[in-house]
Structures are given as structure tokens and as C-alpha cells.
């Protein structure tokens, strides 16, 4: 049996642990223009300080340890030979609300710096986390929930095989307009093909 498959390493990025001291100021910087949090569509959009981000990291690690229903990875640049780029923090990806009895979880992924989007990093990281979810955690299906105004996110998830399954009409309000909440799903059997 082949076990030397690089589970957490892709072409452009790898999935790594949180490094609270170094990562917190970088992630705090992402929250300054609002777009990062707005595109995720989960929390109130506001700038976070390094201290708040560090607190969130502690909560995430505590939850991973105690509840065993989520997995969280930082997305880092893999660029051997380029010392200024190697290991640079690009974003995060998370499997949360894992329900082991049904084999399901919710997938979230974000690339923090707008200048780093559309370079294939998200796609590379997505492939890694899907492999991890289906081949290591043996999940049956993944859920994703994306605000209708996040076109890039929808495109990324659909390219990976996610199907739009529900449209929660007008579930988001932003910039004076109403947007649907898009619920997507990916079954392991579809991903394998």
C-alpha cells in the first residue's frame, strides 16, 4: 500500500499549522479592507486586531482538541529556493461542523490578500483539503455556504465539482442590495470521477 502520497503538499501551496505570533498580524491586516470577512459571509465585517486574531486562534485550537469536530489549516506558499516567498501565509481552509454519524462537514476557504487571488493558490489548497476530507477523514459529502456576491468563491468551488443545491433567497444584504445565499454540496462519489 502506498502511503508516501504527500497529503498536505500541493504544487504552489501546502497546508500548515497556525503560527500565532507570526500569523496574527498578517491576518489582522487582511481584515482592514472588509472584503476578506465579507466574502466569507460568516462574521460581522470589522477590522480585527492581532490580539483578537490570536484569541480566535486559541479558540480554534481548543475546539479542535476538545470537540474533535473541526480541522483547520493555514495555506502557505511553497516556493523552494525563494526564501522571501517560502512559507508565506496566504489564507486558511477549514472543515467544521463535522458530523461523523452522517459523514458530512462544512468546508471554508479564504485567500487573505486580494493581490494573491486568482493565482491558483485557492484551487491548489482546495484540492488538498478535498483529498484530506475524502481520503483521510472518509467523509461522504461536504457542504459549503457562499454569499451570492462572492462570484470568485462560487467559481472556485464549482470548478472543484461542487453543485449548487439550494438558494436561500435574499439571505444577504450588502451595498444596498439583496443577495441569495448559495448552498453547495460535493459528494465523494462525484469527486472521485
Amino acid at each position: 500500500m502506498k502511503m508516501n502520497i504527500p497529503l498536505l503538499e500541493g504544487e504552489l501551496v501546502y497546508l500548515g499549522a497556525i503560527n500565532p505570533e507570526q500569523d496574527a498580524p498578517v491576518e489582522a491586516g487582511w481584515t482592514l479592507d472588509g472584503e476578506f470577512l465579507r466574502m466569507l459571509g460568516e462574521d460581522l465585517v470589522r477590522p480585527l486586531s492581532s490580539a483578537e486574531v490570536k484569541k480566535r486562534y486559541r479558540e480554534i485550537e481548543k475546539e479542535i482538541d476538545e470537540k474533535r469536530n473541526q480541522f483547520y489549516f493555514t495555506i502557505r506558499r511553497s516556493a523552494p529556493g525563494e526564501s522571501e516567498n517560502q512559507d508565506r501565509l496566504l489564507g486558511f481552509t477549514r472543515l467544521s461542523r463535522v458530523e461523523w454519524n452522517h459523514g458530512i462537514a462544512t468546508l471554508t476557504l479564504g485567500i487573505g490578500d486580494p493581490g494573491e487571488r486568482r493565482k491558483g493558490y485557492g484551487n491548489d489548497a482546495l484540492n488538498l483539503i478535498l483529498h484530506y476530507a475524502f481520503k483521510e477523514l472518509n467523509l461522504f459529502r461536504l457542504n459549503a455556504s457562499i454569499p451570492g456576491y462572492n462570484q470568485a468563491g462560487l467559481q472556485l468551488f464549482k470548478k472543484a465539482g461542487f453543485k449548487e443545491e439550494a438558494r436561500r433567497r435574499e439571505a444577504y444584504r450588502w451595498a444596498g442590495l439583496r443577495w441569495d445565499g448559495i448552498f453547495l454540496g460535493l459528494l465523494k462519489e462525484d469527486w472521485e470521477q
Partner: protein, 194 residues
Amino acid sequence: MTISEEKKPIFRGEQVYLAAADPEADASIFARWMKDAEFVRLMDTDPPKLMSVGKHKEWLEKELLEERSNDELFFLIRTVQDNRNIGLIGLDGIRWVHGDAWVGIGLGEREYWGKGYGTDAMRVIQRYAFEELNLHRLSLTVFEYNQRAVRSYEKAGFTMEGQARKFLHREDMRYDLIFMGILRNEWERMTAKK
């Protein structure tokens, strides 16, 4: 500004009214409902599990007295006729910025299933959500195998918004998760007709 007509008390419906749960008085009834595995399987994705009355009381105390959060609310459903506790209903994941919330409902007393009590409770919480909380929409999910609930939600004005494939795994079968929603203007049109 005047209020043109005498309004019905906000928490009162035709067959039921909504009331606050009391940890001391109501823990044992919650413990009894949760022993009904069918009830739990219709309401929750979590596996049925049993907790002592004391643990239920602790949970209610935490929920109602200590960690009162502003993004969830839940109520007991009581019959108008004899003030009997027959189930619970609540809003959670309230997103105030967007005006959206999730509704959850369950009737623990089986003899009240299929008689309009749940639909009536749903109408009460809709009025509360739209008139009092000023929400823009309500969302819910229901399991494919719970067609009685689907009919009740349709009767209360909810529209199908989609279906997550093979979401649940129970008794060796996979079932879809159905998404439903109602918008404020749909609710206004529906209630204006009456």
C-alpha cells in the same frame, strides 16, 4: 402614528401560545421528550442521546440564565385550551445585519402531531420575527423523511429553496436535507388575505 386595530398578543395563536421555559419546572419534560428517539430523529442530525433531568436543568440554566446570546431565542409551545407544554420552537443563527434567522420546531407530545398545533406555532413565530424583530426572511431545513413537517411548513407559507443531496445517514439509507424559506413580503401578502 396610530395603531389602527387592536392587535392580538404577539405570542398568542389560535391553538397555542409561546412561553419561556423554566429550568426548574421544565427540565423533566425535556428529558422525557428526548427519550423518544423518533422525535429526536425528526428534529436533529445529532444521534439521540440520553441525559439526566439534572443535566437538562443545567443546560437550560446555561441557555436561559447565564449565556443569553442575542442570536438565539427559544420558547415553549403551550396549548391555549389547557396550558399544556407540548413542544418547543426557536430562532437561532439570527443574523441581524442581514435580517435572516433559522427556525426550529418540535412537538414532544405525540398526540398533538398532525393536528395543526405546529403550523399554528409557526405562524406565531413568523409574526414575531417579522413584526417584532423586523427580520427580512426566515429559513429552515427539514429532513426528506419528515413529510408531515414539509406539509406543515408549506401550509405556513414556506417555499422550497433546494435540496442537499444525501445529507443524512440513517438506518442504512441516505436522505436529502430540504431547504425552505419565507420572505417578509410573502408573509405580508399571505396574512393580508385573511
